[in-house]
Amino acid sequence: MILFLDTASSYRIVSVFDGTKEIITKLEKNDIDLSSKMLPLIESTLNEASIKPSQIDKIMVVTGPGSFTGIRIGVTIAKTWAWTLKKKIIPISELELLSTTPFDGDYIVPYIDARRDYGYAGVYDQEGNLVIEDSHIKRETLLEKLPKNKKIVFVTDDQIEVPYPIVEPSIKISKIIAKHIDDEGVNPHECNPNYLKKTEAEENLEKGNLHDPLRD
């Protein structure tokens, strides 16, 4: 059985699949209390479906991009679980998850706003194959990169202005499970968040600006 966890977006999701068959899915709107509510949600979800943690063979976890803190909560739970019960983790992109939203067109662009005209985005086709890799990208640059001869649709929760139709996310976890069920998975020690962005302190250091704690 596969345990699927997503804490990267505006919803927290716990789902259990037996092969590609969905057993149970619980989804709650995220609030500031994700840290206190995620494990209780996992516990109640498994209890409701009468599944014991020991029955879980693999963990699929969304590793980002998205809220840094949000991602870390899901990934820490997945890492600890998989490490201690000797399981593998299959890391999933939040953008790929968003791209499972049904759309009318050739390509879908899952987009997560990252402020200052930047966003996290990738480009996927109808089968969920990656056309342009996920990245932290300036919106202008993204728009320039998009193929001109294709029918493109954006999927996002955020208020953005783009010259393409925008659809609201309506994710299909079953699609992700079907696509990745046979992935080999990674050692839990090596499963880490996929932020797609360095910290500001690291960026500044590369530019040669030392972080000045005296100004804190």
Partner: protein, 334 residues
């Protein structure tokens, strides 16, 4: 009597640490992974970088500790976790790991206040005797605590602004010393003379402290001297700063001991390693017949062993948390 083994996790700042402690006093195994070298590049702890490093290392530190102890998760009786205070993003990593383990193994989860941990580090040296007064001095905390028994904390006072260790690191930066410069200031202070006029910070009837003013005084003095073309005598400025800080810390602590009629003093936290502070307290405590305990160096800085020691006594009095436990950046010690 059956022994109680506590697995403790600490990740409140820039150390990822896991420890297994028996009966609150015997250290079975401890692993501490410090991020200090990384943060030194930035001149101080960067919270987002700290969180990122905690998550990369948490399962490896857990594994190493269990291997070192030659124990399995099934062998531990309870899981103790630093829930706060500290950097929220850092705390969250240890917290989620602890809650996951508590859930999977059905073990009790014990929430431990970081300051309680610093105090209980002393129990790993020798059994604490009550009543006692504890001065907790570190990069994040400056608190004076009265304890009439195990797990009974009465805060007498604390810093109103910068923690003492924070002031040390900032002064070190003004003196051109590499982060974390606190220990270097202490070393320089021993080579210098008290020649600079600096104020005794918050010299009043309370048990509170304030180190922001003296830090600013050092910064201003240094700037003014530079503008006048005068060279700063680094050792002397370090000595003058340290003398003032040590004087106010010892003055208020000794007064608390007298007023509360307490004969046991324990010093805790990273700044407990400060030689100037240890020397002065040793001298004053001898004079006033106070028994002084200072933890070994390895227990002064953040570590999970101290959380396991505190966690044992919290466990004994029935402190428990469920899976909804959250981290807290600030919280009262109780």
């Amino acid at each position: 009597m059956k022994k109680t083994y506590i697995l403790a996790i600490e990740s409140s700042c820039d150390e990822t640490s896991v420890s297994i402690i028996c009966d609150g006093k015997e250290e079975i195994a401890t692993v501490v992974l410090s991020q200090m070298d990384t943060h030194a590049n930035f001149g101080g702890v960067v919270p987002e970088v700290a969180s990122r490093m905690h998550i990369e290392n948490i399962t490896m530190v857990l594994e190493e500790c269990l291997e070192k102890a030659n124990m399995k998760m099934e062998d531990v009786d309870a899981i103790a976790i630093t829930y706060g205070p500290g950097l929220i993003g850092s705390l969250l990593i240890g917290l989620q790991a602890a809650k996951t383990l508590a859930y999977l193994y059905g073990k009790p989860l014990i929430p431990v206040h970081h300051i309680a941990g610093h105090i209980y580090a002393n129990n790993l040296v020798k059994p604490m005797e009550f009543p006692l007064i504890s001065l907790v001095v570190s990069g994040g905390h400056t608190e004076l605590i009265y304890m009439k028994d195990h797990y009974s904390f009465e805060k007498l006072g604390s810093t109103l602004d910068d923690a003492v260790g924070e002031a040390y690191d900032k002064v070190a930066r003004v003196l051109g010393l590499h982060y974390p410069g606190g220990p270097l200031v202490d070393k320089l202070a021993h080579e210098g003379k008290d020649t600079y006029s600096l104020p005794l910070p918050l010299d009043d009837d309370s048990y509170n402290f304030s180190f922001s003013g003296i830090k600013s005084a050092v910064i201003n003095l240094s700037h003014n001297e530079h503008q006048r073309g005068n060279e700063i005598i680094t050792e002397n400025l370090a000595c003058s700063f340290q003398n003032r800080v040590v004087e106010i810390l010892t003055k208020k602590t000794m007064r608390a001991l007298r007023e509360k009629n307490v004969k046991h003093l324990i010093i805790a936290g990273g700044v407990a390693a400060n030689k100037g502070l240890r020397e002065k307290f040793t001298e004053l405590c001898e004079k006033e017949d106070i028994e002084l305990t200072v933890p070994a160096m390895k227990y002064c800085t953040d570590n999970a062993a101290m959380i396991g020691a505190a966690g044992y006594y919290a466990y004994k009095i029935g402190r428990r948390a469920d899976l909804s436990l959250n981290s807290k950046a600030t919280d009262r010690l109780q």
